[in-house]
Structures are given as structure tokens and as C-alpha cells.
Symmetry: C2
Subunit: 213 residues, 2 copies
């Protein structure tokens, strides 16, 4: 095993440390966040930091760096409008999705520049990605500053949800392999997902058994 | 597409809503968190909420529900000792890892009950999982309450890091497929990962190209 203590990690060349620390949490979800500014400029940006916070109400978090050049437009639009969309990255369009991480000017929409179709559904003001098979309309409910490193946890409630019927079973499990959803490691490596096992609710005294679907 | 608005989602049967909302963020990393109490009882619990917060310093977050029966021992031990370990779940032991989610008594260690070997490395007080190929020794630096739903974001700094040499390349990319790291969807479905593409740093005007490794 390779071993790094805090000092060794800190002494690594900056890009190498960035790559390592961005990889060690394990697989991250690949999502495109769609927003629109008050003067109707749309923005689309890839995020690997979307996280489940609770189911009742349905709350999701997302870590952004407001001072970062790429996420700034997303952050400003969410703050200004209180609305955004989260759209799964399908493994068919990882290259275009990754392209949204380029520093486009505010006047140039990543939807058009990167080859995505913006659609507006059920009166939701923020643009959805037509090409995504899993999409959520999100309402900002709270912003929590993480002062230690200048990041912000944006908390949103799921107000609209679009799911592909073939990927959802009776119990409410979403099959991410059927949905084609991609994963990310680090800053620029993409993974497809293959389902290997679903287990029963675990109780002490008996190893959880594989579940039939 | 299936469509759920906020009211429809809220009106679903509780377990079904729980399964859906736990699935919609996309793939989540599968990690085992190892802790020890001041009276030397070890605990091991599976978490799908570990998240990257920053690389300088190397900060990771983790969402816990202190009032939840399963995560409570983990939370109490981290609060009492300030130390914990994060260990990737390898796809070879997903069944045993899932078993740690059972409500074991405080006196019964999930290490022994679920078939894992606890090891202590480089004087770190919290137990590591010997079977994991990626492991981190974490120092608690901050606790942020998310009052809206009673959860807590624990922020820790990476103090020790163990990586499998065959999975790390010169640039610092960790290959999660080579490391055997598993992903989770929802509460109980596990996925293996297959690398499909690594792209160059994205710049406006040119679609990012696949990178050689």
C-alpha cells in the first residue's frame, strides 16, 4: 500500500494532490445543473457534489465554490431565482457534459455550446436537459457556508421529479444501470455502473440475503 | 417519463418515497466508517454520504443523523474521540458491508459480527478495515447542524491515506475499477464501476478529448 501522512499529502505537487483528494471519497454522481439568470441567460454546469440529505421533505445538497470561475454563474442564478434543475448525466453524453466545465462567457449558454437541448416543463422557470433520463426541479431552501474553505452547501427541495418508467420498480428503487446514469471519479474520469446486488433490510443475527426484484 | 410533483411525491407510501428519494441523486460511494469509543468498543457502519469538500486542506464531509439508531454509535464515538476512519467497500464484500447497517447492540462490534478485521495503523486510534484497499484516517474539524431535518454534516481532514499502488497513476488519478470500489444506489443496491473515459481539462471552443493514461 502507498502511505501518505498529512505532511506528505500537503507537500505533493498541487495538481497531483488535487487529483488524489478528489478521488478518495469513491464514486461520485454525475449531474448537470441547469439555471437561468433574471435577464434570461441560461447556464449548464457539471457537478459531482450532489448529495441526499433527507426524504421527508425530499432534500438534496450540493457543494459549490462561489468564488470559483466555473460554478459562479450557477451560484448567482440560483441565488437570484431560487430555482434550478438537476439532470443525470447519461453515459452516452459524458464528453459533452464534461465540456460544460470549460469557462464559457456568461453570454454563451453551455446548452447550445455543448450540444444540449434546454426544455421548460410544467411551468418550472429553470431549464431542464432534454437528453437526460432523470431530472429534478429544485427549489432553494437554505444556504450553509462552510467557512473553513470558502465553499457553500446549497440545500434544495425536490419540487418536480421526472423518472424513466423502465428504470423504476414497484418498491421505488431506481435502477441506475437501466437509467444509464454515469459516475465520476476525481475531476475528469467517468464510469458506467453495473448492478451487482440488492440486499434485504439488515437485522442482527442474519447476513442480509440478495433480494429478487 | 413518470412525473411526480411535490404533492404526489409527498403522498407516496413512506418506504416507496424513501427508496425513490434515496436513489435520485445518482450513484453514491460505499464507505465503511470505523470508530472506537472511550471505553474501547469498536464500531463499523456503512455510509453512502461521504463527499469531497476541498483539497487544500484535504477536507471530506459526511452526513449523519445523530438521532438515527444505526449511525448514533458512529456519531457518539467521533464526537468523543475526534477520530475516525473511512474505508472503501470493495465489491467482493458488499454483503458483509451491508450487514453493518443492522442495529447491533453497542457492546457487539460490527467488525467481528460482519466478518471484518480491525487493524490499527501508524498510531491512529480509530480502527481501519484490513480488507479495504483504500483507507483514510480522519480528524474531525467541524460539525455543521442542518436544522431543517435534524442531520449533521461532519467535516474531517485527511490525516492518513492508504492507496493501492496499482490503482494510482502518475497524475494522481485513482482508478476506482482497479481499486474494486463499489457504488450504492438508494439504501441497499450495490454497483460495480467500469471506466469509460477520461477527458482533458475543458476549454471553450474545443470539445474535451479522451486522455491517454
Amino acid at each position: 500500500m502507498l502511505y501518505f501522512d498529512k505532511a506528505t499529502l500537503q507537500s505533493l505537487e498541487k495538481i497531483k494532490r488535487l487529483n488524489i483528494v478528489n478521488s478518495i471519497t469513491g464514486i461520485k454522481p454525475a449531474n448537470l445543473v441547469g439555471t437561468i439568470s433574471p435577464d434570461n441567460k441560461t447556464n449548464l454546469a457539471i457537478f459531482s457534489s450532489v448529495i441526499h440529505l433527507g426524504s421527508n421533505p425530499a432534500l438534496l445538497g450540493m457543494v459549490v465554490r462561489p468564488a470559483g470561475e466555473v460554478a459562479r454563474h450557477t451560484y448567482e442564478n440560483i441565488k437570484a431565482t431560487g430555482r434550478y434543475t438537476i439532470n443525470h448525466v447519461h453515459h452516452r453524453f459524458i464528453q459533452q457534459a464534461h465540456y460544460t466545465s470549460a469557462k464559457f462567457e456568461r453570454d454563451e449558454s453551455e446548452f447550445a455550446a455543448c450540444g444540449f437541448t434546454e426544455i421548460y416543463l410544467a411551468d418550472w422557470p429553470a431549464p431542464y436537459v432534454a437528453e437526460s433520463t432523470v431530472r429534478m426541479g429544485m427549489q432553494l431552501v437554505e444556504e450553509i457556508s462552510i467557512e473553513r474553505n470558502g465553499t457553500v452547501l446549497l440545500i434544495g427541495e425536490v419540487a418536480q421529479l421526472y423518472l424513466p418508467p423502465e428504470a423504476l420498480n414497484e418498491q421505488g428503487y431506481l435502477d441506475l444501470a437501466t437509467a444509464g446514469s454515469a459516475g465520476i471519479s476525481g475531476l475528469n474520469t467517468y464510469y458506467t455502473l453495473q448492478k451487482t446486488g440488492s440486499f434485504s433490510y439488515a437485522r442482527p443475527g442474519i447476513l442480509p440475503q440478495p433480494e429478487e426484484e
